[in-house]
Point group: C2
Chain length 218, copies 2
């Protein structure tokens, strides 16, 4: 059964405690946190001090997506701030294997995220170490972008790869996820959908979360 992780990127940062309560009531499974440093992507969002404050107001698992250069510099900070999953980009680090091991040394899950153009072959010698793989279906940096349709094949290919190897890895998709394409994505074998503006841009955030749950629970 697929799960939903609303992304805080599109939330009202002046009232995060209330925003989080709404998605919790709606049945969200994870809170997706998009960390950007202005170097790996051309936007700066938030980092450990914000996550630490949020950790105090919810028990939801924190799915933290690091869009930062050389993530190995900050693994400890994000683990201690309260991340349950830390996902990094192979494009951002020379030492992918080492950084994955470091994440796991904190007793949390390790993920790898792939930009739209990044080939699945980067996973060849690392996939058995991973708890999660995130397929970016937009170019990372900003909320509200449209789903890149050519990513459908990449999702299918990754689903096959994981199943062929018999691995227990969460297949996550982030970018342009809407109520209208959620069913199609879970039918392809996506385990975890990230939705930003479609959830936090809704008039009734709690109800919108529930609508996602109804679709993906089918």
């Amino acid at each position: 059964m697929a799960k939903i992780a609303p992304s805080l990127l599109s939330a009202d940062f002046a009232n995060l405690s209330e925003e989080i309560k709404k998605i919790e009531k709606g049945g969200a499974d994870y809170l997706h946190l998009d960390v950007m440093d202005g170097i790996f992507v051309s936007n700066i969002t938030f980092g450990p001090p914000v996550i630490k404050s949020l950790r105090k107001v919810t028990d939801m698992p924190f799915d933290v997506h690091l869009m930062i250069d050389k993530p190995e510099r900050f693994i400890k900070n994000f683990a201690e701030a309260g991340a349950d999953i830390l996902t990094i980009h192979p494009e951002a680090t020379i030492h992918l294997h080492k950084t994955i091991q470091e994440i796991k040394s904190f007793g949390i899950k390790a993920g790898v995220s792939l930009n739209p153009s990044t080939d699945l072959s980067v996973l060849n010698y690392i996939i058995e170490d991973l708890d999660l793989i995130l397929i970016m279906t937009v170019n990372p940096g900003f909320g509200g972008q449209g789903f890149i349709e050519t990513m459908m094949d990449k999702i299918k290919d990754l689903r096959n790869l994981i199943d062929q190897k018999g691995l227990d890895i969460i297949l996550e998709v982030d970018g342009g996820v809407k109520l209208s394409n959620a069913k199609k994505l879970t039918d392809l074998g996506v385990d975890l959908l990230v939705a930003g503006s479609e959830v936090f841009g809704a008039e009734d955030i709690e109800q919108r979360t529930r609508e996602f749950k109804l679709i993906i629970d089918k």
Copy 2:
């Protein structure tokens, strides 16, 4: 008469709207916003999306301190997010004069911030273009640090420099500012005090802001 700018770095990021209301009621003059990218300093705090959300809940002037590498990349983003003052570091940019002009082109105030070791001579050919100069009295990156006492001479020297030239520049100090040293700093001619943990770490944030105002209004 000196003014006070509580720094959001030490606030509860889950409830920023409420935190801001408290300092507003206490009479705070500015909201100080510490932007860090993990490159110029070893912490990542928050960026334009957070500031944009805050702009909707308060009319307080936003005093935005950019501790980011190559700030020229993001001037437009911060101006459009709602900054009233944008302060950059000469240590972070090769093109200080150009970036100052760009800030002012958005109709907002431009400041320069100096790390503890940075000499006042970096101001020689730029000071007449500035609206604000920020003396860092801790090394930037984290809240809760202690005031570096050797900065007292630097503050005096800068006060003299501004007065000798007859310029209308805000002299701001940030780092280790407490109720206990506020009077000493304003007596030296500091115009604007930034206080983080001393305000947001207080049991009664509104009352603590008021205590600062009482001291610096004398």
